[in-house]
Amino acid sequence: MLAKWKLKEVVLMSLFSIVFGIIYLLFLHAGNIWAGFIGPIAYEWIFGIWFIVSIICMYIIRKPGAAVISETIAAAIEVLLGNAVGPRLILSGLIQGLGAEAVFAATGYKRFTLPILMLAGVGSSIFSFAYGYLLGGFSVFHPGYVLLMLGIRIASGAVIAGVGGKYVVDGLLATGSLRGYPIARAVKGDARA
């Protein structure tokens, strides 16, 4: 999968994953305490933040695997820094990344418009919710409560990860530091067309 990647793209992905791994960890701690007071639904509002790196990396690098690998690395960094959910977090990272990757794969890694990025956030939401349903034991809750959780998570994935991710990358593109990465080439290509 990585044969077609340039080394600088791999390192960029790792570095971004590390930066976001730290941000994820901050939100995880905040979310943990918040959840103590209002229960597991506390995470749902901010869940989109945990999908953002897969969308950012895919939007910049535009190669198969960018979403799932970056999300997995970010989760691994959270584990390495000594988080609290533990090694199982790597598995949830993998699953969240797969959710976003599935959407990009469905477009053939060709379209990176805002709706596609938002859909990728929704994909992550659905995949991670299925996993959380099993592991968090959500099945003991009332179905209405579970549906409410799912709805909030989908909205959060679309808005925070999809819109937020695009906002961050577009800001970064404007600084000019992404020259030499597929996103800059694609934008130039659009301009020429």
């Binding site: 340039k6 570095l15 943990n32 597991p40 506390a42 199982r88 977090l89 968090g136």
Partner: protein, 250 residues
Amino acid sequence: MKQALHDMNPSIKFLVTTICMLTLAFFFNPWTPLICWVGVILLQLCFSSINWKKWFLFMIPFVIMSFGYFWTTIVFAEERTGAIVWSVFHYDITKAQLDHALSLSFRVLAFAGLSLLFAFTTDPTKFILSLMQQLKLSPKIAYSILVGYQFLPVMKEEFVHIQQAHRLRGAVRDRNVLVRLWNLRRILLPMLAGAVRKAERSAFAMEARGFTGEKRTEFYQVISVGKNDMILSSLFFLIIVAGCSSANWI
């Protein structure tokens, strides 16, 4: 003896703790997670030399979180059958509800115990090297994660510098924590731009020194698998089996 868990092969430790957690997810009685939690703590008492003060500090948020699970499960539980064991403000709590609630909150504690065990006894660099050597992680990814990991202290410094630069230009630090979190986005972009440049520079440096990212069979620092790993893994599984069969003997 006191170093056994620290010396355990990180990949195997990772697999074993993950299997333990996945198994726990299938049990909805309060005893299974409780026994596993106690077992994991005993394991750490016997085979590791961790900082217990730090351990307690890390455990506090989980205790709060497990309390959150406890009361939400009681309020929003689906199953309301069985004998009534407790009555608060005309609200009846049944045996099934209480069992589920206790189970979910002990599960949070058991998960926390397992993950703290992993985090406190594993050296990050060794973990990545072991992932590459035992679990066939691509060297391209493994080494680029290690590069990124080395950049952490630099980035921490950079974060402070950008913050100071903002303050020099008159950005005021807000009192509200939420507003402060939201304002972090102004620091994020310069940090990421810096990260892009660092990534490019280190990738060039790696390539210049002949790094191709091909799979290899020989390593400078070898992480091995030994008897110690087998013994500890079986201890982990013993705890899980004891916990899972608890429904039969309690």
